[in-house]
Symmetry: C2
Subunit: 618 residues, 2 copies
């Protein structure tokens, strides 16, 4: 806060209610895309409603900006780049735009809508997303340089390709220089291979060398190099951040230590002062834990902490302390016979053959399920939606339910639901149970019944290594979610632009006399229609699916060529830029997964004492 | 060697002549595939000739096996697994097979030919390839486990897909369980996306979720996880090897040290003994260098080495020593005026504007070349093979030649050709010069003229970072070559199998009434024919191109479905196994490039003192 007068605004803005309000406003603005033209849900008078909702959302965001302005002061506010961009530029532009739309009472070309995710990213809860964005920005310079190499190689090969293949009249891919460039750009994604090679290959077998050389250099070498460069930059950034965090903590420790020492003992801290600190720093710590932390920190065991000992406070506070004697089971307070029963159950579920039995059941269930499916498939019985539940399925679900019940009783609900695997088991079992029960009354629960195979995922509990993989997955989950949000935001941006530009075109039976004509045909002339006209920008969700297809890259050029045929050559820009952006985002995501995993696995190695490096080298 | 009597055989086998002979025999055997049925080169009486050459090659390999047997002794030979496999199993089998073919005088189904690369890998010069193979084998277990997960997810999704989509009559991709499995297997490679989704998507927009979930989990998550696992295993193996090497060197140092000390000074080595060691260990070392190494090792500067100082001998011997005063230029001995001239040239090429001028010329040349190509392309002038050389091209080539000449004179030929960049410059310039000169006499040198764009690669000299990338590339070259040899050997194996099984089928106009019919059509009914019938196994090179197409993965299922249509469902096995094998090899190659690059870059960081970690943490 700037000064005392700004404090109320500071306090108002920094609490969970306000953050949630801000997030709600951002989500509200984002969700507008579903009812604005071109809309997913055709609400009556949607245009006017959307405008009102938009103004409301902007008003909410405006409140948070004003508040921030209050407590930061206008000068700091302007120098804080993110706030300035969000507040003064985006917000004002969007407000003006919204007002203009309302006053003119009809929509115009509104690309400002693509800016909406900015409010979303700015939210307090999305710190991980911002960090990810920052990392993408930081790894941009080396990526750009690799892209320059790539572009350069592309130019060389398209010049070469033009001279080599353009004399061939049957080759539509290299007829002009720009056509050759586009063909090779698409070939970079492998999407038109081997088609792009075939006409030249039909003429001379040697032309295969050109394409193999191009793919070898650009795809297999440069692309991997790019991944390597991003990976190195990524892990450097991570290391640097880690170092900064450590330095930061160290400095905090020094400040705290200076406050805690008394005049009589200027270099040591007593337990009394230490305990006082813990009461502020970590209010939930019990007296016992505080004492244990103190004991653990105090290596010299003289009852007073030196500064070097004090430095470890962050680590020590991170540990959870467990008494050596396990706490009595929850059912200890129950009357005699029930308690005895519970003890028996507890011993049963701790028995190793109990687990083996469950695994056996799962495997048998899996085999039966797959055999059943195969029989159903080969017998050519049409699958109807009132597929009746067989008795074996009911038996198995009953067994699962009993197992879950026994475990809950034996371990106590609290302990049972602390393990993610148990929660998964429970959810699947409950779903299956619900599905079976529901099916007795109606046959509309078809979709729950076919979720059965998901139960097979329980098999992953069997092997230790999968355990490790899934554990890592759980630990990485927050950052994976950040990555997904980044991808969704990128999609949103491109989807809005795509909708504004392309939603007016109908792709059905388009592109006559182009190479992609057959994909867009909708008549009975082909045996299996291709339905490519569905890959359009008609509403935000269909645009999302189309963009996902572009992300997967396979056959993306068919979508591109389709829109090029109905609009102009400039449409390529949109698709090519999207590919480049997604390539950057994806390579950062891959580098991140690699980084996180290698770090995690090396951590496992070090901490769990595989001790490869344990042999003394020096 | 086993004992003294085996020494002659040992000496005979361990020299470069013998290795070369062995390699020649292996290559000879491999190259047989070009003239055997189905042949690339149709030589008259090729069958008989091939048999003779084969026997000759096997005879040569046999010699090396016998020699090895001599010096190793039968017992050691049998316990040395690689030798045993190579000699006793493969060789005998192949010999029998060859003899049988000759006696029956017609070829039969000979898959043993696929075993030929074994002799190749066994050659002394291909140690890098064997190391690579070993690394692939070592990273197999974790890959297998990840593949198991993948297979499992595939099963779950195909069950789900069967229940969800088989009621849709228009969906050919999920009509049966096995069809669904194949479709999802292909989808794993993205090769049939979005086609596989479109029929279901046309029916219900929600079905996109199924495919997005499948691709998200299997392609984007599990595949990257696999890469991460391979990467971790790979770098662990590298670290372990490095450690072993260090321990090995350390032990060698200890032995050497024990031999070098005298009785009077049991813990220190004098320069005289050290010099004696160097004369054996590194015969080329001059007296001056030996003294310098000794001085560098002797940190305590007392004229005698302790053991700890001695340990650094490997590092110290790796350094090249350069006198502070540069050696006099080569032209110092020439008569006066020429020498003066040479000094002027030397000063000219060291002048920084000289380099800038050359870069300027290259960029202008590049721009002119591309503009020229674009003009040619838009003007729609047919490119004839007697493309005449324009004057600007001649000027530029002349400039390049002068530059190369000046540099050779100024730096001396020895220094000039020591830099890889200069060699590249020289080669390209010489080629261009040769092309222009040749074109004056005949117009068949078209292909040299169109190699012009390669000169643009000189532009990479401009930026420092590209320098680093290319340097790394040069350092990694031997191992990249190993990787390429591994891939070629894998191709060879699959190509021979493919030729034996599939070369009898003609794919032209095949596959009527299947989904891939149109790709194999050869008539004038389509605007642009697809020529997929050329992706066959008619000879070893065409099989190689086909396998490359399968490696690139895009549209590989079209080739698979084609052969399934003309043979049987079991053909899928060949293609699916090939995909799995290539995926494993490719992920190891990618992991290797990643590993090598990150290592190299971190090395640069550390050695060149970017000093990120320089700040004291503790």
């Amino acid at each position: 806060p700037r000064d005392r007068s700004a404090l109320p605004a500071y306090l108002v803005t920094h609490n969970h209610w306000f953050y949630s309000l801000d997030l709600f406003a951002a989500l509200l603005l984002l969700s507008l895309a579903t009812i604005e033209q071109p809309a997913v849900f055709h609400v009556r008078r949607a245009g006017g409603g959307a405008r009102l909702v938009e103004l409301f959302g902007l008003f909410l965001v405006g409140i948070s900006i004003v508040m921030q302005l209050r407590w930061l002061g206008p000068r700091t506010f302007l120098t804080h780049r993110r706030s300035a961009v969000k507040g003064l530029v985006t917000w004002i532009v969007m407000l003006i735009d919204a007002v203009v739309v309302i006053s003119r009472n009809k929509t115009h070309f509104r690309v400002t809508r693509a800016m909406r995710p900015i409010f979303m990213v700015d939210n307090r809860y999305l710190g991980g997303v911002r960090r990810f964005l920052r990392q993408i920005l930081q790894s941009l310079p080396p990526i750009m340089e690799m892209l320059a190499i790539l572009f350069f190689i592309l130019l060389i090969f398209s010049t070469l390709g033009f001279y080599l293949f353009s004399p061939n009249q049957e080759d539509p891919y290299f007829s002009t220089f720009s056509q050759g460039f586009v063909s090779l750009y698409v070939l970079l994604t492998t999407a038109n291979f081997p088609d792009v090679m075939m006409p030249a290959y039909a003429k001379s077998r040697w032309s295969a060398a050109f394409f193999i050389a191009f793919l070898g250099v650009s795809l297999y070498f440069i692309m991997n190099l790019m991944l390597a460069v991003v990976f190195v930059v990524f892990s450097d950034i991570e290391k640097e951040k880690f170092r900064k965090l450590l330095v930061h903590k160290r400095r905090a420790c020094q400040y705290a230590f200076r406050l805690l020492v008394t005049c009589s003992q200027p270099s040591q801290v007593s337990f009394r002062h230490f305990h006082g600190l813990l009461r502020f720093f970590r209010p939930g710590t019990s007296d016992r834990d505080a004492f244990l932390i103190f004991k653990a920190l105090n290596r010299s065991e003289n009852g007073r902490l030196t500064r070097n000992e004090f430095y470890n406070i962050y680590d020590m506070c991170g540990y959870a302390w467990r008494t050596q004697v396990p706490p009595p089971p929850w059912f200890n307070g129950l009357p005699g016979p029930i308690r005895g029963c519970c003890y028996l159950i507890r011993r049963l579920i701790k028995w190793k053959w109990f687990d083996y039995f469950i695994y056996f059941i799962i495997i048998v269930n899996a085999l039966v399920l797959i055999t059943h499916t195969i029989i159903l498939s080969t017998a050519n019985i049409p699958i109807t939606h009132d597929l009746h539940v067989t008795w074996d399925q009911i038996t198995v679900v009953a067994l699962y339910s009993v197992e879950a019940l026994l475990k809950i009783i034996g371990m106590g609900p609290w302990h049972y639901f602390r393990s993610g695997w148990n929660v998964w088991d429970f959810a699947i079992t409950a779903l299956a149970l619900g599905g079976i029960v529901a099916e007795e009354f109606a046959d509309s629960f078809f979709y729950i019944v076919i979720l059965r195979p998901l139960r097979l995922l329980r098999l992953f509990r069997v092997r230790k290594r999968y355990h490790a993989v899934f554990q890592t997955l759980v630990i990485l989950l927050p950052r994976i979610v950040s990555a997904i949000i980044i991808i969704i935001i990128t999609y949103y941006f491109f989807a809005v632009v795509g909708m504004e530009v392309y939603s007016q075109y109908d792709m059905k039976n388009c592109c006559v006399n182009t190479t992609v004509e057959q994909f867009y045909k909708e008549d009975n002339s082909t045996l299996y229609p291709d339905f490519y006209f569905l890959n359009n920008f008609d509403n935000i969700f269909m645009a999302g699916v189309t963009l996902f297809e572009l992300t997967v890259v396979n056959n993306w050029f068919i979508i591109m060529e389709g829109y090029v045929a109905v609009t102009s050559e400039w449409s390529r820009l949109y698709f090519m830029v999207f590919y480049l952006v997604m390539m950057v985002v994806m390579s950062v995501v891959v580098a991140f997964i690699l980084e996180a995993f290698t770090f995690r696995m090396e951590y496992n190695h070090t901490v769990l004492g595989d001790a490869v490096d344990g042999v003394s080298l020096k």
